[in-house]
């Protein structure tokens, strides 16, 4: 038992976040970015550019649901930057006064209908989703579900889903496997899913535009690097990468 604890100890300390000597001191500097899962591919690409431009800097990306991430930061996780998929979760950070600089919006995302390849149910519009088919959407409790409710209300249709999932990934899983006939996910998810689903745009999506804010975290170890990351995301390079992935301009 005791030897096992000793072996574990260095790892535990490294996770603890009080390794001040590590921060912004030239070699071996780490920038930890907490970002919404929908940003995975874009932020990975930007991290490579950032590391190429900053020698000796290691960008550690932590992806997850925005609500989980903000919860972890509030509970002391060692994040330098937080990029949220909605303003609601960024507000939780500012409510705790944990932001470095004030949050800035850097991208938007809208909903799109996703159907299995070949579109077996012949869906062409949002109105079709109210018909007799296996519809899979996000539960109203999660951000993509709240957006779904908004567009449904704006179009005055009643959706009768076969399943209300906890995340966009779960919705996509049901569509790619052909289990569901249609789902509502974000434009960027459809692009990221490649050939496994087909996307169908609909005009009512303009009624629920999701805004992504980004902020540095107060007292982060990475110092100025955190702000440089934010600048990269807001700058032309970042915007170009985001736009290629289907995100809209803020």
């Amino acid at each position: 038992m005791i030897p096992a604890l000793v072996l574990l100890a260095p790892g535990l300390v490294a996770c603890g976040g009080d390794d001040d000597g590590d921060g912004s001191s030239g070699d071996g500097t780490t920038l930890t970015v907490y970002a919404a899962a929908s940003l995975t591919s874009t932020f990975e690409e930007l991290a490579e550019r950032f590391e190429a431009d900053h020698e000796g800097v290691d960008v550690v990306l932590e992806f997850g649901g925005s609500s989980d991430l903000v919860e972890q930061i509030i509970n002391g996780a060692d994040a330098d930057v937080f990029a949220s998929a909605d303003t609601k979760n960024m507000d939780k950070l500012t409510a705790e006064d944990l932001q470095g600089q004030d949050p800035q919006d850097f991208a938007t995302n809208t909903l799109e209908i996703a159907v299995p390849p070949g579109n077996p149910a012949g869906v062409t519009s949002l109105q079709d989703l109210a018909g007799d088919l296996d519809l899979v959407i996000c539960a109203p409790e999660v951000p993509c579900g709240a957006a779904t409710q908004t567009v449904a209300e704006a179009a005055s249709i009643t959706l009768d889903p076969a399943s209300e999932e906890q995340s966009v990934t779960d919705v996509l899983g049901k569509i790619t496997s052909g289990q569901g006939d249609a789902g509502l996910v974000y434009v960027t998810d459809v692009i990221a899913a490649g050939d496994t689903v087909e996307g169908i745009e609909f005009p009512e999506s303009a009624d629920a535009v999701n805004t992504y804010p980004i902020a540095t975290v107060k007292d982060g170890d990475a110092g100025d690097l955190a702000q440089e990351w934010v600048d990269l995301v807001l700058g032309p390079d970042g915007q170009q990468v985001l736009s290629a992935a289907g995100f809209g301009a803020p």
Partner: protein, 248 residues
């Protein structure tokens, strides 16, 4: 000393959960419409799943404990696999078998029975992950009971069916009960296979663990209150059987 550490490791997080409960509106949180519907669905499906596990698992345990055939060790490993498999993987396996585009999913549709997004899918997911618990515990009980009484009964002229019903199974009853309870408890806690295979819809497929997972975003207090309900139900189930059979 390690025993103390081990016990604390299990007990302290449970205590932390209890400490988080908002007792002032606890009752309101667990009696909301969605909570009650999730609890009822969980109890119903878990009971059916435990029953199915008994019906299918007893013959399996008998075959594994009382017969010898080539490849038996491999078969046993395969049957026990869901125990160590991540439930999500189990859910995917079920999806690719019984899903709309699965191996035999189309056959089901021909019969007019669609498994997708139905309570049946929830039960299937639960049976898949729970079955090994019943088989393992019953097979163990059968092995411990041994074959002596069966041999005696047979030598006294009892037919194989009589031996099975009057000697083998009665001796294994404690193992069967604890196995069924474990299967029920495992079904009650089933999450990964259910969400992957069955989806999540109130009253149809959203069991208590799925409801907890969903509520933790929007209403953490409700999630914690429901977690406590699940813990209490689990403790009750295990406590009751322990008292009855003393075999768990």
């Amino acid at each position: 000393m390690p025993a103390v550490v081990g016990t604390l490791f299990v007990v302290v997080p449970l205590a932390a959960l209890v400490a988080q409960v908002e007792w002032s509106d606890f009752w309101g949180l667990i009696t909301s419409e969605s909570s009650l519907s999730a609890l009822a669905l969980s109890l119903r499906t878990s009971a059916v799943s435990a029953l199915v596990c008994v019906l299918l698992g007893v013959p399996m345990a008998l075959v594994l404990a009382r017969t010898r055939f080539p490849g038996q060790a491999v078969l046993r490993s395969l049957v026990l696999l869901p125990m160590v498999l991540p439930p999500v993987v189990g859910g995917l396996a079920l999806l690719y078998t019984f899903g709309k585009r699965g191996l035999i999913g189309e056959t089901f549709e021909v019969v007019g029975e669609e498994v997708a997004f139905s309570t049946l899918a929830v039960v299937m997911a639960q049976v898949f992950v729970s079955m090994p618990f019943l088989v393992v515990s019953l097979e163990g009980a059968l092995r411990v009971a041994g074959e002596r009484y069966e041999v005696v009964a047979a030598s006294l002229g009892a037919r194989p069916t009589t031996v099975l019903l009057r000697v083998t199974l009665p001796l294994a009853v404690p193992g069967l009960i604890s196995g069924a309870v474990l299967a029920f408890a495992r079904s009650l806690g089933e999450f990964g296979a259910t969400i992957t295979f069955a989806g999540s819809r109130e009253g149809v497929t959203r069991t208590l663990p799925l409801e907890i997972y969903l509520q933790r975003f929007d209403d953490p207090d409700a999630a914690i209150a429901l977690s406590l309900v699940l813990v209490v139900v689990a403790v009750l189930v295990i406590g009751l059987t322990r008292q009855r059979s003393g075999a768990l």
